[in-house]
Amino acid sequence: MPSVADSNQENADARAQKPPSGNDTYSGTRVEQSTRELEELANQQYKHGWVTEIEQDVIERGLTEDTVRLISAKKEEPEWLLEWRLKAFRHWQTMTEPTWANVHYPAIDYQHQRYYAAPKRKAAPLSSLDDVDQKLLQTFDKLGIPLEEQKRLSGVAVDAVFDSVSVATTHKDILAKKGIIFCSFSEAVKEHPDLVREHLGSVVPYADNFFAALNSAVFSDGSFCYVPKGVKCPMDLSTYFRINAAETGQFERTLIVAAEGASVNYLEGCTAPQRDENQLHAAVVELVALDDATINYSTVQNWYAGDRDGKGGIYNFVTKRGKCAGRNSHISWTQVETGSAITWKYPGCLLQGENSIGEFYSVALSTNYQQADTGTKMIHIGANTRSTVISKTISARNGNNSYRGQIKVMPKAHNARNYTQCDSLLIGDQCGAHTFPYIEVKNPTAHVEHEASTSKISEDQLFYCKQRGISQEDAISMVINGFCKEVFEHLPMEFAVEATKLLGVSLEGSVG
């Protein structure tokens, strides 16, 4: 496998040159250090826009009960799961697409979509990476996600999802020794049906919203993770989602459960080919944290955003929610949203357990004709629950960015605390930034704070940097990195570097 080996080697070298993570001794934090890497990237456009030519198992367009049955059958699912899908489908048919978000797009014809696409397998089931199609391995190599463990220097386990199926999951053996289950959702349904059945839909019920119901009916694959009692996951876990097939939606489902005292860091990355047609992505992510458990979930979303005139791009309608079910549990969402033509996404936390903590750190970028309506929901149910929301939105060219956040304090949530900070940065005079906070407090002991600011990158800042010898492009990325710093600090090293690069590439040439 010479080509795979070669590109792995390149990748290994690139990783080796990066400073070690956790090297925060200097105030030039890891985020700032990475700014320099922007130079080489400044002239690049979307770099993941290529297509893998591979034989596909694609089902007919359209969505009926038969489609749901067909997907379930292809995945050889148990009866209970099919029933659950059908209930979701029937409910979905009674729902109407939400229109309250500050995004505008032509009506989606759900009957024109395809709901399942998978690369054809040589032989099923897969027993090792040797059985995986070389083209798939090469696809992920090209994306910088080598799946061969011995060639990976970094200690991150990866589940790679290609269109509707999981291609491979790495490091399963090491994780299994600690009792950690990390596999594709489909495999979890077969191998750990009780765990899946217990938690599936426990945080995002199928009737939760239009897109969650659609996902529940037709979801294809995704990742499943279970960290048992008292176990700190020894490596970061990661899912990499790749949309490849044309005119096919991706509907993945991720479920992460951290039992009592467990902790896990989870990373999610996404890319898609560059196409003129819009593509639908409607995912559901559910997190469950029991007593004293911690889940950190980080996303760098870089779906294809459409071209400069707003043609093409992914419609990203995602429901992500974590349940702090246990006492002292802690769920933290960190997201960097740079891709997608439309982003509709509100990762939130249900703070049930006493003293539980929910956090949301977000950077959302919209440039060209991108529209983002994103924010969070923090629902305080238990006593002494705390939440922190830091939202940074950047709008450039004709981009339109809305923060929408709900803070709800229920009657029994004594001494609940929330702090929300929404900062908007505008570049140019054709873009927009909006803030829609919804605050509902039903307990008089609650403290809820909301701060918001809007600023522009000023000519003065750029001139100041240039007068010190720093180029215009570096000056812009410096101002933006400074703006996003509070969020980037919560990302793992590699993601912070990636996020910094993405912002630089996306905003190239938007000032002056």
């Binding site: 200097y26 105030s27 030039g28 934090t29 700032e32 250090q33 700014t35 320099r36 000023s458 000519e459 003065d460 800042q461 001139f463 100041y464 940097c465 240039k466 007068q467 010190r468 010898g469 720093i470 180029s471 215009q472 570096d474 410096m478 101002v479 990195n481 400074g482 703006f483 996003c484 710093k485 509070e486």
Partner: protein, 251 residues
């Protein structure tokens, strides 16, 4: 080092500089004084490459290069430094990181190796001690939440780090109390050398009793109308600018 000939510049269509001539050699310290609105800050901005100003006539050569052809960052890399009258805040970016990025750009364009974070830290702390600035400044975001005096001191620190060949100080004394003025002036004096030229733009004489210039020029209505030694500044302090205005009117 710097030669300005018949420099004309406008801002938003108004002509501010109307034929400035000035020559500055290495090792010299010049003061440019003048009443408000005479074009002092405009001159500083034009030399630094601020695009808010349009040069309509004249030439400026710096170290043998046509300065007006170069973008602001190239001028900085050649060794031209402007201490801003109103230093700008860059939230979230530490002073240390900002200065490391700036210094490395300058080093790179001069064919020197870039300093890594460790090397730079050592270098920075040396400079901070040299200009008597608390090391805590290194980790604070650039100018954010700094007092007026701190911002001006920070400019002098930047000058110490970037080691320019020509430093232009734009109203560096404005807004400083007497203690801060003394500290800032000491910093500048330490940085004076035979290889470095300093051009101070100021309204008041008081800065010049701390940083004693070799030459004093009076800028009025966009032209240098009088030049002299340090005594000229004292004369201006005593008599104000009116007699200059009368002289100009008489000509």
């Amino acid at each position: 080092m710097l030669e300005i000939k018949n420099l004309h510049a406008t801002v938003e269509g108004n002509e501010i500089l109307r034929g400035v001539n000035l020559a500055v050699n290495a090792g010299e310290t010049h003061a440019i004084m003048g009443p408000n609105g005479s074009g002092k800050s405009t001159l500083a901005g034009v030399l630094a490459g601020n695009e808010a100003y349009d040069v309509t006539d004249g030439s400026v050569s710096f170290l043998g290069r046509d300065l007006l052809e170069l973008p602001a960052e190239e001028r900085a890399r050649l060794g031209l430094f402007l201490a801003f009258q109103y230093p700008v805040e860059i939230p979230g970016i530490s002073n240390a990181y900002f200065l490391q990025a700036a210094l490395n750009e300058i080093r790179k364009s001069n064919g020197l190796d870039e300093l890594d974070a460790m090397e730079f830290r050592e270098f920075l702390e040396e400079k901070m001690d040299f200009v008597k600035i608390d090391r805590k400044f290194a980790d604070r975001p650039v100018n954010e939440g700094f007092s007026g005096g701190e911002k001006k001191r920070n400019e002098i620190l930047q000058m110490a780090v970037l080691e320019p060949k020509l430093a232009i100080l734009d109203e560096t004394d404005s807004g400083l109390d007497i203690d801060a003025l003394r500290i800032v002036s000491e910093g500048v004096n330490k940085l004076r050398s035979e290889n470095r030229a300093v051009v101070m733009v100021t309204h008041y004489q008081r800065l010049l009793s701390y940083i004693v210039p070799d030459f004093v020029h009076v800028l009025y209505k966009g032209r240098i109308v009088k030049s002299g030694g340090k005594d000229l500044a004292l004369e201006l302090e005593e008599k104000g600018y009116d007699w200059i205005k009368e002289e100009v009117a008489a000509v």
